[in-house]
Subunit: 208 residues, 2 copies
Amino acid sequence: MKKNSYHHGNLKNALIEAGIQVLADEGLKGLSLRKVARIANVSHAAPYAHFTDKQALIAAISTEGFRLLYERIQQTIEHFTGDPLRQLVETSWAYVSFAISNPSHFKIIFSGIVEEEWKYPSLIELSQASFQQLNTIVESCKAQGILQSESAEVSALAIWSQMHGLASLILERKLPNEQLEQIPKKALVVAFLQHMIKVEIPHENSVD
Amino acid sequence: MKKNSYHHGNLKNALIEAGIQVLADEGLKGLSLRKVARIANVSHAAPYAHFTDKQALIAAISTEGFRLLYERIQQTIEHFTGDPLRQLVETSWAYVSFAISNPSHFKIIFSGIVEEEWKYPSLIELSQASFQQLNTIVESCKAQGILQSESAEVSALAIWSQMHGLASLILERKLPNEQLEQIPKKALVVAFLQHMIKVEIPHENSVD
DNA sequence: TGTACATCAGTGAACGCGCGTTCACTGATGTAC
DNA sequence: TGTACATCAGTGAACGCGCGTTCACTGATGTAC
């Protein structure tokens, strides 16, 4: 970024960025340390100064993506403080739209590519923190009588599963027909949630 | 299968089976034509008599898996003819349990690995037929007042998404805590569906 | 401010590997007469 | 039943490739005094 010779100065991040780019362009099968180094204008051995091996780079990309997702959801939660129903709808949509606009990140986080995940504790922390975000919202909704009142955790998992499944099916282009494909994705999210919610979800003056 | 020299007799299927085995043992990154040929006790060039290239083998494995899933669901439907609620519960469970017991097949079908899917029309047909199975059940449920009465297709997609998401999260070991992991998976399926259904789902004298 | 030195972040050659695919070939099988 | 021949399903050598990783190295940077 700053120096034009020898020491790069920010190579670690540059390699992560390059990796994301490769994933977007060619998918996982096209991702190699050598290619990533090439894109960062650096010799093919240079990455080893920052990552112990290829898995470590993949884990770093995954962690970075998870962090982005987490922060996006956190912002949404704060933006709608005090309105749990709205929080539920908007965070669900944030999840699905994150997948749509960052397919590489979403896929690498959730495609079981990172082996031996326990070696990368920040990944696991983020995963649990993310679920906790949703769980808190669901508890608030139940407290307000918006959702049926059984185990909040099961309900949270039900919602997460639904949004995760929708995101996956969209990314894999498995939406079963054109009719469904033409429905705006946010409308699908709202319709799905409406199936589970007692009160009517109000029309929003869409924020994003 | 029959001859012990030169002509194999059933090599095409043997290669598909070998491919499934490799996927189960080492995942997609370990799958190569050469390895598959090795397992089938055949020279590394032999597969080219049956598949134009590596992609074609992958597509064949995927198609085979999809067919198994389709047939399993079809049997479940027929087994509970006349009882749409039961059909809904049991086919949902069939979907999730197929994923659990055939993770390689499930992943390869739904992981976007098959490129240029349009080259393999039977894959696309199976995909649409599968959704149609679910759609028919949902329509019956709505006719009986079991489900809310909006678009059957949207409801069907909601259910499919939910089960697909649950299956994916289980396979990727992303269930957020041990508490949830200890719940029998079928109980989760039932709980999820209960969120969307007006009537109580009866306890079944479990069939499988 | 200047110098000596440790540490850091890169280089480039080299290793061994398994892969996908092609090609000329050959052994086995099926069919027409 | 026997023979000629086309077709099919395999073989094994060869190609070129990109990869992950290691290693001895060197240029740049930071620090102690």
